[in-house]
Structures are given as structure tokens and as C-alpha cells.
């Protein structure tokens, strides 16, 4: 479902004396449907960078990143938008939403975008919010004023609403209490059972060993200083 080949990423900081920072060189791995691959490596190794390239959020300097039948590194913006709508989900570390939009709408939006009826979308969104223990009285409010943990759970509910064939998770269990963490882990297991290919970053080692089938150490792709 996800194939990465010979991926290269450098940042050029034009306003800092055009410093060139090579971050990834020759990365390659693949993820089959129903499989979860964990990206590992020390802080700064490039885990989030790889994940952002997979989502089309960062540009790659070289290589191939195939999600389904689309090469993200070559795709037009509107192909990437379609991919993100239908195929590729991403639970980032932090929730980013339009102010004033109620939580229930934030969570049902990805379903409306793939053609669900308003009623079905709200029903599934309510289900997820309930499982993630967001009190019902908060559903009509914008999550912008929620606590960090609440926002993260809303983010997770949104990310899991549509059953994407490919899903990227950046620290999905960070800052969650044991009960909510358990819920998130079962959501991941259910997504895998449903055939979703998952790439995850987990600092939580127990979580990693429970849901990940394989690990890819991103440090292996850190360019050696010349």
C-alpha cells in the first residue's frame, strides 16, 4: 500500500547563509495492507520528516513515495488533495481546526468529504467521541478551548472517522491516560484488522510493541557527514 524508495530530503535555509541540511538519504521501506510499521530513531533522526513527506506536507528532493497508485513526490496538488480525502489519513501531534466549528462537525467532516450523509457521519462521529470519552456536552463546542488531552482525542476521532486504506500516526498515545490510551490502541488494532496500512511514531514502547509489526530505524538513513 505504501512504498518508499531511495527517498532523499534536504532543507536549504536561504536566509541563514543558504545552509544546506541533509536529513534523509536513500530511505526505503514498504507497508502492506493491514500492517503497522513503526518509525524509530533518536530525536532529530527524521521520523516526523519522513511522515510529513508521506503526507505531501514536505517536498522530497529525490526518490519515490507511492501511496496506492500515486507517487506523492510527482503528484499535482489536486491529486494529493484527493488522496488525502479518500485514501490517506494523518493524525498529527496537534489538532489544527477552523475556529468556531463544533467538535462533532470537526470529526464528521472527513466523512462528509467522501460522500456520507449528514446523519450517518454524525452517528459515526458520535460513536468515536463516546469511545474516546469526550463528554457529550462538549460536542457542540469548538475544540479550540479544550485541554491538550481532549484536543488530542478529538484529533484521533477525526483521523479514524473515515476508514482510510493508509494512515499516518505521529505519537497517537502521547499525553493520554491509561484508559484512553487503551481505546486508541484498540482503534489502531481495528484499523489494521480492516486492512489499513499504518505508519506510526510511538515513543511509548509498550504501545509500539503491541501494535507495530515491524520497525524501521530512520537513523539508518541519516546522511553521513562528508
Amino acid at each position: 500500500m505504501i512504498t518508499v524508495e531511495k527517498l532523499t530530503k534536504t532543507f536549504t535555509l536561504h536566509n541563514q547563509e543558504a545552509a544546506v541540511i541533509p536529513v534523509i538519504e536513500g530511505a526505503g521501506f514498504s507497508v502492506a495492507p493491514g500492517e503497522c510499521v513503526a518509525l524509530t530513531g533518536e530525536s532529530g533522526a527524521g521520523k516526523s520528516t519522513v511522515m510529513r513527506i508521506l503526507y505531501g506536507n514536505y517536498l522530497a528532493q529525490g526518490g519515490v513515495v507511492r501511496i496506492g497508485d500515486v507517487d506523492i513526490t510527482q503528484a499535482e496538488p489536486r491529486e494529493i488533495l484527493r488522496l488525502r480525502r479518500e485514501t490517506l489519513g494523518y493524525v498529527s501531534q496537534f489538532l489544527r481546526v477552523v475556529p468556531r466549528v463544533p467538535t462533532l462537525d470537526v470529526v464528521s467532516e472527513p466523512l462528509l468529504n467522501v460522500g456520507w450523509s449528514e446523519a450517518d457521519a454524525k452517528a459515526r462521529a458520535s460513536d468515536l467521541l463516546e469511545r474516546l470519552r469526550i463528554p457529550e456536552r462538549l460536542w457542540s463546542l469548538s475544540p479550540t478551548t479544550f485541554s491538550g488531552g481532549e484536543q488530542q482525542r478529538v484529533n484521533i476521532a477525526r483521523g479514524f472517522a473515515h476508514r482510510y486504506p493508509a494512515l499516518l500516526l505521529d505519537e497517537p498515545t502521547a499525553s493520554l491516560d491509561a484508559t484512553n490510551r487503551e481505546t486508541v490502541l484498540s482503534l489502531i488494532e481495528e484499523a489494521k484488522a480492516g486492512g489499513t496500512a499504518i505508519v506510526g511514531i510511538f515513543h511509548d514502547l509498550d504501545a509500539r510493541s503491541r501494535v507495530a509489526d515491524r520497525e524501521v530505524d530512520v537513523s539508518a538513513f541519516t546522511p553521513k557527514a562528508a
Partner: protein, 256 residues
Amino acid sequence: MTPLLNVRDLTKAYGGRIGCADVSFSLYPGEVLGIVGESGSGKSTLLNCLAGHLPPDTGEVIFDTRADGPRDVLQMSEPERRMLGRTDWAFVHQNPRDGLRMRVSAGGNVGERLMAVGARHYGEIREQALDWLDRVEIAGERVDDRPAAFSGGMQQRLQIARNLVTGPRLIFMDEPTGGLDVSVQARLLDLLRGLVRQMGLSAIVVTHDLAVVRLLADRLMVMKDGHVIETGLTDQVLDDPQAPYTQLLVSSVLQV
């Protein structure tokens, strides 16, 4: 899919000074394109050339018309272009005074647009005007007030109602949230997003506000000295900018 708008090598100079130069892009139905860039980079010039308010020196602006498919707007007769401006396009000005008739009631401002495309039945016009005031969150009881009595945010919402009542397919906006305070901006953005989705509108939004483009635009175009220097998915351009100027622009704001 046929692009709604296909722009090729559009150039406009003011005497010896560049307004915008060699601009090319396509816009697909339902897409929102953001345009950012420093003051004087040619954003308004480009928008005005696209909307037929300003004649460009060279280039093509191919619009996918309802009746005859893709046609070069610049080759149309003036009456044809004016009709397109009323039926298929909308233009939201930064200053509501440029887009509203200040001496005409709120209802009249909305109704006038309907009459310009042939509506004649007074009762129906008034009903539609009231419906649109409601959609932009202006109380029905204000229908007979003049916009001069409205706050800036209300005037901007009225301008949007006036523009959208005829069901356009493409909306041009030049700094639609400029001059409004942040909470009013958020409300306007939320409204615009909802309308864009419900009506399947395409939009081109000029703004200096990167938070606004992040929330509203699918794609982003960065201009400098009249030229487009970078384009891409909005979040990609903001999070991994490639051009020196874009990096400067993004790093000079605290957080978007």
C-alpha cells in the same frame, strides 16, 4: 476534468512598471487558491485582470463557460464579459464600500444583483434577499437598513451575500478579512468555508494573512515583483517553503 479557469502567461504593465508578469495556473471546480506576497507584488493587479476589471497586455484567461465550454475571456465582447461577471463570477472587495451601494438598503443591495440577471418578481426577490441575509448571519429586521449603519464585519458579510445570491461559480476576493478584528475574521472565514463547500464554489483569495490562507485555501501561489515564485499545496508551501522569499515570509510570522 476541465479546469474552470486556465490562465496562460498573463502580463500587465503600468507604463514601465511591472504589475504582474507571465502568470500561468489552472483552477479546478471546487478549488480555493490563495495568493500571498508582499505589498506591491501584483496580487490585486492579477485579480483585476482575471476578473475583467483591468485589460492585461498579453496572455489568455480561459474560462469554462456554462453555454459554450472553455473560452478566452479576453477575446469576448464587453457585454458578454459583463454578463459573465454577473452570472458566473463574484468579486469581494477589501473595502465593502467598493462592493456595496451605501445609499441602498441591505435588502436592495442583494436584490439588485438578482434584478441584474433578470429577476422581476418583487416578492421572490425580497424572499431571496432575506434568505441570504440569514445565511450570512444578518438579522432579517435589518433588511431595510442601509449598510452605512452596519459594522465592518456586517458590511463584509452583506457584500458576500450580494455576490453569492446569483449562484456564481467563481469568486474573487481581495483581502476579504482585512481591517476586521480577529474574532470577526474567524466568523467570516467559517462562513466562507461553509459556502464554498455547500455551493461547490471555486475561489481565488488574495490576502497577506497566512493563517487565513491556511484555513481557507487548498493551494497557494506566492508572488514577488509581479512574478509567481512558488506554488503548491497550501500546507506544503507554508511548512516547507523552497524560495528564499517564501522562507522569509513564513519565518517572519510567529505561528500559522
